[in-house]
């Protein structure tokens, strides 16, 4: 499984590096969305850092949906899907590899946007730094859930519109827990209970993906 995971993750990341969709499309989209969120708050709320975590995760939700779709589009050509299927790769390894690649991409985007919240939304730098570990774990859990739901909708009619509808109920607890742990890092409330929720979600979605990805591929 580990061998296949490295193989698939390396392939997805190489394709992303070659196509530069993340660099030239997704990151600018996220930055603009964050800027617009800051403008929507207005000058009266400048320096009010309490809105930062929520807006950060709202933008990350949009970015994650784009990246999940992109992750599945790579495999979407019918000929590619068929010929890769005939390689007989271990589906658990494919899931871990795709989730890993998506995670790396979300981490890269997340760190850029986290810096954006400090610059645009005036979130405290120290708080943002303290929040980094919880952001990374939350995005890892989003990657696992997103890869699972991406496989569920891949190749179906209206996959791009169906994906957000299916994902939102699964993402909502993660986004809330992520936002709460980010707020806690800024000094608003306890930190560890929200960390626990995100970690449990990461293990649960990772385990479900390893167990179910093969079934979803076959269907």
């Amino acid at each position: 499984m580990i061998r296949v995971a490295w193989l698939v993750a390396g392939k997805d990341l190489r394709i992303e590096a070659r196509s530069r969709v993340l660099l030239w499309q997704v990151v600018p989209f996220g930055a603009i969305a964050l800027l617009l969120a800051g403008l929507a708050l207005g000058p009266a709320h400048a320096g009010d850092s309490s809105a930062g975590p929520g807006l950060f995760y709202l933008v990350m939700l949009f970015v994650a949906l784009l990246m999940i779709t992109r992750s599945q589009v790579i495999e979407a050509t019918p000929g590619t899907r068929a010929s890769v299927a005939t390689l007989g790769l271990d589906p658990a390894g494919v899931f871990v590899g795709k989730a890993l690649a998506l995670c790396v991409e979300l981490w890269a985007t997340g760190l850029v946007l986290l810096a954006g919240t400090v610059l645009v939304l005036h979130t405290a730098l120290h708080g943002a730094l303290v929040a980094v570990p919880s952001v990374l774990v939350t995005l890892a859990a989003l990657s696992c859930a997103g890869t699972l739901y991406g496989a569920m909708t891949a190749g179906g009619d209206g996959a791009t519109t169906l994906l957000p509808i299916l994902c939102l109920p699964a993402f909502a607890p993660l986004l809330i827990a992520g936002e709460r742990s980010f707020s806690a890092a800024l000094g608003h409330g306890g930190l560890w209970e929200w960390w626990a929720i995100v970690l449990v979600a990461l293990v649960a979605y990772g385990g479900l993906g390893i167990l179910l990805y093969g079934v979803l591929e076959e269907s």
Partner: protein, 217 residues
């Protein structure tokens, strides 16, 4: 060498989304043989190839491919023993020619040293660093052949491989298919019309309405 047929289908039926793709196919394919499936659009050529590749389940009837029972055998094991070349392209468009082959070799745990040899054999050695989406249709088809050569599959399944190939490309394809068949692989090609090549003497199976309607040689 296998003594019985490599492919045996008896009254094979495949349904997808309530629609019959194959409605009772009887077919035996000998090892080391070249076979062409012909028929109009929707006759069931691609569906039959997909069944032989283990990509769709057998709904009813009997089927054995490479010794694996299609009803209750491990279809993932079967897939590792067949090679598929689709007419839409069978690789990652943003990876280079060599990167696609490296991915295939690593997935199958084959040595990477064979890549140079197969690239030379299909005439793509000067294109190894070219991104696949920059290749012409004929070059992409050659890359598909390199992918199959690297796999050393027992059963080659080629879906409309002659589409958009010029005469030179067709001749190259014919020559290679003759070589791999002589080397012991079984090849199944889908095509709208019987092969024009005089060099090959394939068995031609005509499909219509998801059934075998006749055959010729």
């Amino acid at each position: 060498m296998r003594s019985g047929p490599l492919v045996h289908l008896a009254d094979a039926v495949v349904f997808a989304n309530g629609f019959p793709l194959l409605s009772g196919v009887d077919l035996d394919l000998a090892p080391a043989s070249l076979n062409v499936l012909t028929g109009a659009n929707g006759a069931g050529k691609t569906s039959l190839l997909r069944l032989l590749a283990g990509l769709v389940p057998l709904t009813s009837g009997e089927g054995t491919v490479c010794g694996i029972d299609l009803r209750n055998g491990d279809r993932r094991q079967l897939r590792r023993r067949v090679g598929w070349l689709g007419h839409e392209g069978s690789f990652y468009a943003d990876l280079s020619v060599e990167e696609n082959l490296r991915f295939c070799a690593r997935a199958l745990q084959r040595p990477l040293t064979g890549i140079g040899e197969v690239l030379e054999r299909v005439g793509l050695e000067s294109r190894s660093g070219t991104t696949t989406k920059q290749l012409s249709a004929g070059q992409r088809r050659r890359l598909g052949l390199a992918w199959l050569l690297l796999r050393r599959a027992e059963l080659w399944l080629l879906d409309e491989p002659y589409a958009s190939l010029d005469d030179q490309g067709r001749e190259f394809f014919d020559r290679l298919l003759a070589e791999v068949t002589a080397a012991g692989a079984t090849v199944v090609v889908s095509a709208h019309d019987p092969l024009r090549s005089g060099a090959l003497r394939p068995r031609t199976v005509h499909l219509a309405g998801g059934r075998v309607q006749g055959e010729s040689r």
